[in-house]
Structures are given as structure tokens and as C-alpha cells.
């Protein structure tokens, strides 16, 4: 039986008091326990930035990778060992700036993992520059006259790229956050959860108060059908992305299921191997 104690690390996070990422960390640990996943069966891969440090605060097989490449790395982990529960996490700069390419391709590739983005609409670790999700006009250290660029929309990006599970949560509502992470981890395929995780130090615009005031709860919205892709696109438009809940869910084949027969059946993660004569003959036959 997995317990919270198993997942806890005796390390004080380097996050500011009040940072939204604390809730995400606690939620992931609790969900893992709820789903009775043993710590050794979880691989937690993260990117670079304040939120990227999260994997170091969880006791599991964890890896803090490169800026923007967490998803690429996490896909490799899951493909090599499908028995692992793979969580990937990072921030908006990591996932939608430097790593956007991998986000779109991971979504369409549909490797079975859960991708959690702690979206604070700012670069925090480098002390307050605008990020790809900073609203147009927002003043930051790198946009003193207001952000001249339009922000990216990660939810529509995920929809357009073919993500088979898309949800949005808020650090201020841990119950729903946990529920969505749990659904994401149970989803077979690429599950993307964007979490509004306020930066209390550098983002004075998108604050807890702002989100509390403006967010609509999709899970309680009558008539909303998360299996309807067109409806999902419209919902993002209608709410200006200011919602939480399950936006879209689709059952489709994972990458491993779509690969040629035999793929991934003998990944030799722990065994040794030597070619027998039959396999050798097969291997060299086309070159003899």
C-alpha cells in the first residue's frame, strides 16, 4: 500500500510562500497514493524553471531535465517501460515557449503520460519577464511598455494538435485539481492539464483573486460535452480560457498501440541478451 510518507521528500522547496506550485505538488502526491501507485513505479520528469524543480520534491524515480525538453524525455521513459506511471511537469515558459514544439508533437503522438503545466503567465526563476501566456499589454521586466505580443492559447494548441485529454485547473481549488490529475493519470494516452498556478512575487495581474473572480467551472456546466471537439474549441473562445474542468477527452490508440507488431515487447530494461542463430540469420540475411 502506497502512503503519502513514501512520496514525501525532506527537502524545502525553493518556491516563494504562497506559490501556486505547492498545491500542485501536494495534489500529485495525494493522487498517486489514492491510485495506490508505489513510488518506485512512478517516473516524474520535469523541465526547467521554478515549477520544474517539482520533481526534486517527490520521492519516486525523478528527473529534472533540460529547459523545454521534459516532454521529449518523458516520452522516452514511457516508451521504454510501459509499466511505469509517467508524469511530466513544467511551467508555461518551459512548455509553451522553448518547448512548444514538443508539446504539439507529444499531443499528436499520444504516448500514455500525464503532462501538468503550472501556468503562472510569467518567467519567475529569472525574476519576472513576460512569458508566452502573458496577456497582451502586461507590464513585466522585459515588457516595460506592456507586452506587445498576443499570448499563445495552450488549450486550443492542445486541441489542434490532437491531445486526447485536455483539462484546466487552478491551484486555489485543490479538490478539483486533484480530481483532474487523477482523471488524467487514469486516461490512456497523452493527458494535458494546464494549471493556473499564480506567481505571488512577479505576477501582480493574474492573482488568486483574479482567478477566483473570473473562472467558470466547466465540470458543473450543464449541457457541456467534453467528447465534442468543436464544443471544446468554442468553450475556450467563449470563456477567454477562463475556466476550470475537463475540456476534452477522446479514446484513441496510444503510440505504442499504433506501432508495428512486436514493438516494445522486449525493451531489455533489465535483462541481458545475445542473438541466437535464428535471429542472427534473420538480421544479416539482407546483407549476405
Amino acid at each position: 500500500m502506497a502512503t503519502l510518507k513514501d512520496y514525501r521528500m525532506d527537502i524545502k522547496p525553493n518556491w516563494c510562500p504562497g506559490c501556486g506550485d505547492f498545491s500542485v505538488l501536494a495534489a500529485i502526491q495525494k493522487v498517486a497514493v489514492n491510485l495506490n501507485i508505489e513510488a518506485e513505479d512512478m517516473a516524474f520528469i520535469s523541465g526547467i524553471g521554478c515549477s520544474g524543480r517539482i520533481s526534486g520534491y517527490v520521492n519516486a524515480y525523478t528527473m529534472h531535465t533540460m529547459h523545454g525538453r521534459a516532454l521529449a524525455t518523458a516520452q522516452g521513459v514511457k516508451l521504454a517501460n510501459p509499466d511505469l506511471h509517467v508524469i511530466c511537469a513544467g511551467g508555461d515558459g518551459d512548455g509553451f515557449g522553448i518547448g512548444l514544439n514538443h508539446f504539439a508533437h507529444a499531443a499528436r503522438r499520444n504516448v500514455d503520460l500525464t503532462y501538468i503545466v503550472m501556468d503562472n503567465q510569467i518567467y519567475g526563476l529569472t525574476k519576472g519577464q513576460m512569458s508566452p501566456t502573458s496577456p497582451q499589454g502586461m507590464e513585466t521586466k522585459s515588457s516595460p511598455g506592456g507586452n506587445p505580443e498576443q499570448p499563445i492559447n495552450p488549450l486550443q494548441m492542445a486541441l489542434a494538435s490532437g491531445s486526447s485529454f485536455i483539462a484546466q485547473a487552478f491551484s486555489g481549488d485543490v479538490k478539483q485539481l486533484m480530481s483532474l490529475i487523477e482523471q488524467g493519470m487514469q486516461h490512456k494516452g497523452f493527458a494535458f492539464i494546464n494549471v493556473f498556478s499564480p506567481c505571488v512575487t512577479f505576477n501582480k495581474v493574474l492573482t488568486y483573486e483574479y482567478f477566483k473572480k473570473n473562472l467558470v467551472n466547466l465540470d458543473e456546466k450543464e449541457g457541456y460535452d467534453p467528447s465534442n471537439r468543436a464544443m471544446a474549441f468554442n468553450m475556450v473562445e467563449e470563456t477567454g480560457s477562463m475556466f476550470t474542468g475537463l475540456l476534452y477527452k477522446q479514446e484513441r490508440k496510444t503510440l505504442t498501440e499504433s506501432l508495428p507488431k512486436g514493438s516494445g515487447t522486449n525493451m531489455l530494461t533489465r535483462d541481458t541478451f545475445i542473438l541466437d542463430d535464428i535471429m542472427k540469420e534473420k538480421l544479416i540475411s539482407r546483407y549476405v
Binding site: 529534472h64 516520452q75 521513459v77 514493438s263 545475445i274 538480421l283 549476405v288
Partner: protein, 576 residues
């Protein structure tokens, strides 16, 4: 006659590659030793392409001959490129539809020049595209091989396209064969001295076989010349062995996926060329810092930037040696023959796991794309050594909540656990870290960790770190990669004229086998370092490690063409 060189050239898309494949298949089966290299441009159709095949009835060969005995020209460029490279009493066949005999002024006087209606004969069979089959028929007839073996291979090749296509191609072959027979043309036949079964394959194919035999079960790659063949071949065969190959969105993803798969315990690799190596450098640093095994093949081509994508160069050495910011341990192995390319994969994967660091296979375009005859794969050379893996039983005894994955040990190599193992959990981060992997900036730990990582590879050897041949009292010729063939033949020619020449071909480029090389250099009167790059990258590395700088001479080539034995002989004479 012991050997023969056949060249067929034309525009890309004229089936030059198929001629090479059919010809080599038959000759390889007959027991000849072959070396084939295809010269090509970075475009799909149009542009000159030629296939240069050296056939030996005896010894194994590692480089094309400098002169051709039989030239088949579908285009004028073939004549222009090879007119100065014809052997005595050679035969030249050209198609007057596309080659103008008025431009033949410079052809050697002793050459037998024959107008051969390749296109016309092919058209008579139904389609001019089959002029390559006509050419094969002529080669078969000229060299007095039995047509049966050729026909079998042609049948085999086209059987999927239906009986009609097979018959048309056979007919084209026969027309070519009859043409030379009717004209009474022939060359002295070669007879193979052995009939042992051989493989005939490119370096890329050899590395694919080597990877599978070495237990690699994950590859992620991104198309790039000349490494794409590795991705394409592995994608075809890996499922049969239970592995996974992914064509990723870019090189950044490819290498990160490989690191992820390796973290999970699978032997994982990527393969690329210069531009990809540049993109992968950050990940190479991660692999070094988090001590996760990684194998990267670099089939070097002309750089910098997009450079000469289809031409030979060995200019990524400094990138492999010093790429990525900061300092990490790394191993660089350089195969110089197709056989070495195959077995080096086993070595690379073993070293990557034993030393927990990135391992580069420093291949080059010629090694990757040329084809050589080589002995049948010996699987016993692929014993897997998975390094310091900790057993589940040992972990149970320790019952540590967080495993000391980066423990300081006597040999600087830490025991390794992989996901799924109970009591083996740990953190891996590119941030400086302590023994459990968690970040720390403590100066004492930092120093220890750096020393641990940097010095753990000092004991690396691949057995034959330097391939030494001959006694180099007068001249020592040093090189790496596919220049081995040219250097070897230059040495033989020196020796034939009474000069004591020898070669030292570097097989392990990092950690550098300095002591052994120092000894070899000190014993030779003259030292020439031969390499395909501008600045003499290998020579510069040697100078860092070897005392006797003054005698080290650089022979570099960076025009995209290959070294010939005569380049080395000429250079040496100029030195004296």
C-alpha cells in the same frame, strides 16, 4: 589480374544505385571482396551521380582504386570526372544519346571507346528507364560472368512488381549482354580466391546490425544526410526484436527521448550528422551530468552550417570532444572499417553503461555510405555488460528511502538503479547534486562530484585503442575514420619502394590514448596526420598530448573529395 574497378555514372534518377546493388549482390555471392562508393548530390533527380566499385579476387579492400578499368557513361559528367582516372587499356562505354564524342579529346589513347546504345536497347524492351539493366548486361558480358546469377538477382528484385516487369528487365539485360558478345568485347575475367560467405553492407547498415546485436532497443532520430539510413533500417527491423524506433520532431527531441529511455533502463541511441550534433549538445551535457548512458552516432559530413551535406568531411571532432557548456565525461570511438562499425556498437553500449556517460561513434560520410565486404557477424563479440546495476535483493537489504545513485566510490562509478526497482528511487538533475541526486551548491561536494565524473573515464579502453600497422621508422601516418583505406595503401606503396612506413589509426579518440601514441611518434622520423577538415583537428588534439610537435605535419583536405593514396605519397615527397 587481381582486381578491377567499374564505374557507372549518369544523372540521378537514372538507376545508377540499382546497378550498384545488383552488381554487388552477384559479385559478393560469388566470393569477391568489394568496396563500393556512391558519389551523389543533394537533390533527388538530376545532378550527377556515380557508383565506383572496386572488385578484388583476393584481399579485403577499404578504399576505391584511383583508376577505373571499365567506365560506363550515361552523361557527360562521368566522362569529365573520370577521364584522368582511367587505368591502362581501359574500356569506356558511352551512350551517344546523352554524351557527345566530340568532347573526348583528353581520353587516354590506349582506352577502348565504344558507343553503346543503352537507351535505344532499353526502349526496344519497352522503356528507356531500363538502360541500367542494359548496362548490367554489358558488364556481365565484358567480365565474362555467367548471366544466370545476374538474372536470378534481377528476378528477385523485380518480382514484387509482377512477371511483366521482370521479363522486360531480363530482356534489357540480355540485349546488353548480347551487344558486347556480338562485338566480341571482353576483359580478362577475375576469379575469386575464396568462396566463403560474406556480408556486403554500408557502415550505416553495419551500425544498425551492431546496435540490434548489442541489445539496443530504443532509437529516436530525425532525418538527416547521411545518417537517415540508420533510422530507416532500424524502423524496419527493430519491431522484430521487440524494440521501438521513433522518428521525432527534431534532434532535440530525439536525443532527449533516448536519454529518457536510457533512464528507464533500455539501451538507447540516436544517430545524426553535423547539424544534429550541434542541436544535441545541451542533452549531451545532461547525459554527462546525470550519468545516464547515451550513444550518439555522428556520420560526419561537410560543415559548417548546412555545409556540404552529401560530401565527406571529418570536421565534427572538436564538437564531439568539447561540445556542450561546462565539462563532462564522454567517450568517442571511431570505426574505420565496416566491420569495426558493426562491433563498435557493442563496445559503445557497454561503455555507456559501464561508465554512465555519453558515447559518440565518430563515423563519417564515406564510412556511413560506402559498402564493403566483411566477415559474417560474430554474435559472441556482443556480450552485454550492463555496468554497476544493483540487484533487487541488494536493494531490499539496504532499504534506503532514497538511493545514493551518485554515491562516491573508489572507481568513481556509482551503483545504478532503474525505475521499477523498490528502494532504488532517486533524483537525477543537471543541477549540481549530492549523492542522492538532490541539488546542492556546497563547494566541497561540487569539487568531489566534478572529479568523480571527469576522472571515472580515465580507465576506458576499447582494446585496440590505436590500430597500428607496419613499422613506422621513416614515416608514421596517423588518421581516423574512413581514411584508413587510403592510408593503408599509401603505406604499402611506401614499403614497396623501400621506405619504412607505418600507420597509427586512432580508434579511441577520447579519452585520448596519449602514451601509446607518444611512443609511436617518438620512433618515427616523419609524422603525417591525415584528415578531412581545414584546421587539422586531430593533429591539434595530438599536439596537446604529444611532446614532439615539430615533426607532426598536417595533411588536410576540405574540398569534399576523398583522400587517395597518391595524395599522401605526393605530400610526403614534398616534405622531403
Amino acid at each position: 589480374m587481381e582486381e578491377l574497378t567499374i564505374v557507372i555514372g549518369g544523372e540521378q534518377g537514372e538507376g545508377i544505385e540499382s546497378v550498384g546493388e545488383i552488381l554487388t549482390k552477384v559479385l559478393s555471392q560469388k566470393g569477391f571482396n568489394l568496396y563500393g562508393f556512391r558519389n551523389f548530390s543533394s537533390r533527388i533527380k538530376g545532378g550527377h551521380s556515380d557508383f565506383n566499385l572496386r572488385v578484388s579476387s583476393g584481399r579485403e579492400i577499404y578504399v576505391n582504386a584511383e583508376r577505373a578499368n571499365l567506365l560506363i557513361a550515361f552523361d557527360q559528367a562521368t566522362i569529365d570526372l573520370y577521364k584522368d582516372q582511367m587505368a591502362a587499356n581501359s574500356i569506356i562505354l558511352y551512350d551517344s544519346k546523352s554524351v557527345n564524342p566530340n568532347n573526348f579529346a583528353d581520353l587516354p589513347e590506349d582506352a577502348l571507346i565504344i558507343e553503346a546504345p543503352f537507351q535505344q536497347l532499353a526502349l526496344e524492351c519497352g522503356n528507356s528507364i531500363m538502360k541500367n539493366m542494359v548496362a548490367i548486361g554489358m558488364i556481365c558480358g565484358l567480365n565474362q560472368h555467367s548471366p544466370m546469377e545476374f538474372k536470378d538477382v534481377i528476378k528477385d528484385r523485380f518480382s514484387k512488381k509482377g512477371i511483366k516487369i521482370v521479363e522486360m528487365n531480363i530482356e534489357a539485360f540480355e540485349k546488353g549482354h548480347d551487344f558486347v558478345k556480338e562485338k566480341g568485347l571482353y576483359s580478362i575475367p577475375l576469379v575469386p580466391v575464396t568462396d566463403s560467405r560474406k556480408m556486403f553492407l554500408s557502415g550505416n547498415e553495419a551500425m544498425v546490425i551492431g546496435a540490434v546485436a548489442a541489445g539496443c532497443r530504443f532509437m529516436a532520430g530525425y532525418p538527416i544526410t547521411p545518417a537517415s539510413e540508420i533510422l530507416e533500417n532500424l524502423i524496419k527491423i527493430m519491431p522484430e526484436y521487440g524494440g521501438i524506433v521513433v522518428q521525432a520532431e527534431d534532434e532535440l527531441c530525439s536525443v532527449a527521448m533516448a536519454i529518457g529511455a536510457s533512464f528507464a533502463g533500455t539501451r538507447a541511441m540516436t544517430a545524426t550528422s553535423g547539424p544534429g550534433v550541434s542541436l544535441m549538445q545541451e542533452a549531451v551535457g545532461l547525459s554527462g551530468a546525470v550519468e545516464i548512458p547515451l550513444v550518439i552516432i555522428d556520420t560526419q559530413r561537410g560543415g559548417p552550417s548546412s555545409g556540404l551535406a552529401t560530401k565527406m568531411e571529418q570536421s565534427d571532432l572538436t564538437a564531439m570532444l568539447g561540445g556542450t557548456h561546462g565539462e563532462i565525461p564522454r567517450i568517442i570511438i571511431s570505426p574505420s572499417t565496416i566491420q569495426e562499425a558493426m562491433y563498435d556498437m557493442g563496445t559503445a553500449f557497454n561503455l555507456a553503461e559501464q561508465y554512465q556517460c555519453p558515447v559518440f561513434i565518430a563515423a563519417d560520410l564515406v564510412l556511413a555510405t560506402s559498402k564493403q565486404s566483411t566477415e559474417i557477424l560474430d554474435t559472441r563479440k556482443f556480450e552485454m555488460d550492463r555496468g554497476k546495476r544493483v540487484t533487487d535483493e541488494d536493494l531490499l537489504l539496504q532499504e534506503a528511502k532514497v538511493f545514493d545513485r551518485f554515491a562516491f566510490t573508489e572507481d568513481y562509478i556509482s551503483p545504478r538503479t532503474i525505475p521499477g526497482q523498490k528502494y532504488g528511487t532517486h533524483h537525477a538533475t543537471g543541477i549540481e547534486h549530492g549523492e542522492t541526486g538532490h541539488p546542492t551548491e556546497d563547494p566541497i561536494n561540487r569539487k568531489k562530484m566534478m572529479i568523480k565524473r571527469m576522472e571515472k573515464i580515465n580507465s576506458v579502453t576499447i582494446g585496440e585503442d590505436i590500430k597500428v600497422e607496419g613499422v613506422a621508422e621513416d614515416i608514421l601516418i596517423i588518421g581516423f575514420g574512413s581514411t584508413y583505406g587510403a592510408i593503408k595503401e599509401a603505406c604499402e606503396q611506401f614499403q614497396a619502394s623501400g621506405i619504412k612506413a607505418g600507420l597509427a589509426h586512432l580508434r579511441l579518440l577520447h579519452p585520448f590514448p596519449a602514451k601509446q601514441l607518444e611512443r609511436l611518434v617518438s620512433m618515427a622520423r616523419q609524422v603525417i596526420v591525415v584528415e578531412n577538415n581545414y584546421s587539422g583537428q586531430l593533429a591539434n588534439v595530438i599536439k596537446q598530448h604529444v611532446q614532439d610537435h615539430a615533426k607532426i605535419q598536417k595533411l588536410t583536405k576540405f574540398d569534399g573529395t576523398l583522400f587517395k593514396p597518391s595524395d599522401i605519397l605526393t605530400f610526403s615527397k614534398e616534405l622531403v
